[in-house]
Symmetry: C2
Subunit: 349 residues, 2 copies
């Protein structure tokens, strides 16, 4: 029921997923208003063999505060979909609804599997010349210490393998320079943990903002404050450049003619950075797969988010992450790895 | 002598400044190798009436560490140019040289005027549909507390008036959301100081990453870590989009023909976001005007950096900033404004 359009995008999104991504044997439980959902199912030709409908009248509004949604949300479509993951009936859930409520109710029902995280981390699939780079956290954990950053690295690595099929993802920590002594305590200590912690991760080193779109590494690790601002700054710039291009290409008759001729090439280009093609941000660090779709996604965009949920749910992502999170917990319990007692300065290298 | 090209860009840069920006009555002291400088002056037709040459053989290398440059840099062209600002002989200085060395020697010779800053703040002029937005700090102060953020606001506001001619600049603090309770302690406390501090600044509120390229406010205030990453992320994305466009517009004969027709419109567009047109980042918070040019700037880019230095040097920027910095110091000395003792939570609003 969530997002800007509810069932009129979610149900065609299921059809889109099946048409474009296959998903042999994947079945769907659609939570919400049965009449509205069934009307959409008829339109796009989806049957009960593929979609089970679970009726509820209750919805979490898009502007509801997370605390309110937690208190009053029980029995809503959002709540029931997460409950189905908890009970094991569903292998994953996708929502285009209220992000804060999704995060709060997911955490309440599923609990965190990453002990250092206050709330689930959001991962963005960032387009690069080589494909995609996973950037996390892009919004949930405002102040991240070294242990949290290492948790992001562990989860981002497993995500890249499960969803983007990268066999041995490389990992970088976002910083203001690539030299070891750059940045603040948290990034320097996280770098040390990743280098010396025995996680079996392919740690590359510090990367800078320019490296994200360059695809220097497969996973860019950063605190939720910086990650959110990097992502939104990029979104704002992309929109500005698109507006400038549109203005330029309609500024004269000759320019319009040129644009017409170059149209199909320009369209192929814009598909590479189309937000709908890269829709679907998993909330990482929970005991269960929960994927957030943009509220304004198209059916194609929602289908892409379903694909992310299916790939994560079918992979051994949870096990991979579990093993490395245990390693991290053991490591932090060792006195010589305690970052609180023993700050890493320039001279300890 | 600094930058990738030394006098062969700096000297034509002076000529470019005079041709394009006027600068009636501005005279230049050029520090460095007299033979090399005079050869360039002859080429571009600059005489002793406009340019005084101060010979020195000593230069700070582009890869020299700041600490080393401070110890050994005395008498170098970089050092002498800053010394001339300190003595009052020069009203401002511009360098395309080693940024770390420029920052360290400027701080050593000129001293900070902003008491909260560890090192000078770097301000970027970010292109927007409305003109430019000043973003600071973009790289020097890694961990910024509330007082530092307020200093950035004070300096950014005066910079926008002096260099971009905005009469009453609006100021936003970069955050992960626009609501009062969003973000960490430092941004919330800085917001309170700006709202209640009586600086006479037009404080708008929190802004998000998307707001930078949108031009929502004239000055975007952020810590040096986040600001550096936002700027470099944007640079990386702009390069990626440019590469995609080039690829698209050369992908077929028809596309090439289209590109040819749209060429002049596309060129006008790219000028709006040309790094050379917005070259010249002042180091703010010093007792004197010091402007950093990109090391790889063209003569036109160096001319733009000279313009920034002249506008700042001729304005009452230093006085404006001085008055508000004194207000801030007085404010922080009042017990009820001490951020260390009294954290601002969600409930204190």
């Amino acid at each position: 029921m969530g997002g800007d359009h509810g069932p009129s995008v979610v149900v065609p999104g299921v059809r889109d997923y099946r048409n474009r991504h296959g998903g042999e044997g994947v079945r769907f439980i659609l939570h919400g208003n049965e009449t509205a959902i069934r009307a959409e199912m008829v339109k796009v030709g989806l049957t009960d063999e593929v979609c089970i409908v679970r009726h509820t009248d209750k919805v979490v509004a898009m502007d509801e505060k997370p605390a309110q949604a937690m208190r009053r949300g029980k029995g809503s479509s959002l709540w029931n979909a997460i409950e189905a993951v908890k009970s094991g009936e569903a292998g994953a859930m996708v929502s285009a609804g209220n992000t804060g409520a999704l995060m709060a109710i997911s955490k309440l029902l599923l609990r965190m599997s990453a002990p250092g995280l206050e709330r689930p981390a959001i991962v963005a699939s960032w387009p690069t010349p080589k494909g995609y780079t996973a950037v996390l956290d892009v919004g949930a954990n405002i102040e991240s210490d070294a242990a949290q950053l290492v948790e992001f690295a562990i989860m981002g690595e497993a995500f890249m393998t499960a969803v983007h099929g990268v066999a041995k993802p490389t990992i970088g920590i976002l910083n203001v320079g690539s030299e070891d002594m750059k940045g603040h305590e948290a990034v320097r200590e996280a770098a040390r943990l990743l280098r010396e912690g025995g996680f079996g991760l392919d740690y590359y080193g510090f990367v800078e903002g320019t490296d994200i779109s360059r695809g220097t590494v497969d996973v860019v690790v950063t605190d939720g404050f910086t990650g959110n601002i990097a992502l939104k700054t990029a979104e704002g710039l992309a929109k500005f450049i698109a507006a400038l291009m549109k203005e330029a290409l309609t500024s004269s008759l000759i320019a319009k003619l040129g644009a017409l001729l170059a149209m199909s090439a320009l369209k192929r280009m814009s598909q590479k950075i189309d937000p709908n093609a890269i829709n679907g941000g998993p909330l990482l660090g929970l005991n269960g797969v929960v994927v957030k779709s943009h509220g304004g996604a198209t059916p194609g965009g929602f289908g892409a988010a379903i694909r992310v949920a299916v790939e994560l749910g079918r992979s051994d992502y949870m096990e991979q992450v579990g093993v490395n999170l245990q390693r991290l917990t053991a490591l932090l319990a060792r006195p010589n790895f305690s970052s609180a007692d023993e700050p890493v300065g320039e001279n300890t290298q």
